[in-house]
Symmetry: C2
Subunit: 154 residues, 2 copies
């Protein structure tokens, strides 16, 4: 597979683009923050065209994904001190591979159930969203993370 | 961490033990099959004591988990030809790290929603369960998988 070509063809699914904002980029994955204020909820989207399953990633990409997922989880735990992380690749409605990373709390809106379909999304104020995104960027700061607002790195 | 000691202390959570049967062992993970007949539903449980989060695994274990998860997913796709794999580490009710691997179909009981809490579990006949477990063992056959009925390899 020509991965350079593949990356160039990557486009974010419109529903994912509509319900999230970009936090930044790892080498493999785009880091998104959900606009649903019920939970600190990030998504990793590997920048590979036409990939719908984790096991479709190349072996090298799977290892890179494991690294990025672990790093994001650790950053979210450090930042939010949740009771549990929930990590899930579902994709029954949006086939483009995207992996949810959700910080869960015993007093959150859906606990102890999974978040999907549990309660309607609630909106952040613009100030609260920007604050959370900014704190995430600080928590993720390292030599393999680049903060960005766009799905394309300029 | 003394991983040999850690493996020796591993015990399967009673709720997981009650709702699944053992299919076999990878080097890191126990492979379980859910007794819920609604879906072809396997679980991977890393044989490490007191681990509740994927990112708690050592770097070496994370890479081994990625390998075993990918291998199990490919085997389930080959065997069941699902419309989508759902892979999730939730653990809000059973903290012991366990990662669901569920073969999903557009005509299954919960589609397109996640399976957790969607519909009551249904029972396999003993014959159907044994047949599915046997086919899984055949699909998983390789030099790093050992079929077994027990959580301890004799």
């Amino acid at each position: 597979m020509d991965e350079t070509m593949d990356t160039q063809q990557f486009e974010l699914d419109p529903l994912l683009a509509d319900t999230t904002e970009v936090v930044g980029h790892f080498p493999l994955c785009l880091v998104l923050l959900s606009k649903d204020a019920n939970y600190p909820w990030c998504l990793l989207v590997p920048k590979r065209a036409a990939v719908t399953e984790l096991h479709h990633l190349s072996e090298l990409d799977r290892l890179q994904y494991a690294k990025e997922s672990g790093y994001l989880s650790e950053a979210m735990v450090a930042l939010f001190a949740p009771d549990k992380m929930n990590i899930a690749a579902l994709g029954n409605q949006v086939p483009q591979l995207h992996i949810h990373h959700v910080a869960r709390f015993k007093d959150d809106a859906a606990w102890p159930n999974p978040i999907w379909g549990a309660v309607p999304a609630t909106e952040y104020t613009a100030e609260d969203f920007d604050s959370r995104r900014s704190r995430l960027r600080s928590a993720l700061a390292c030599d393999f993370f680049t903060a960005a607002d766009d799905i394309n790195l300029s």
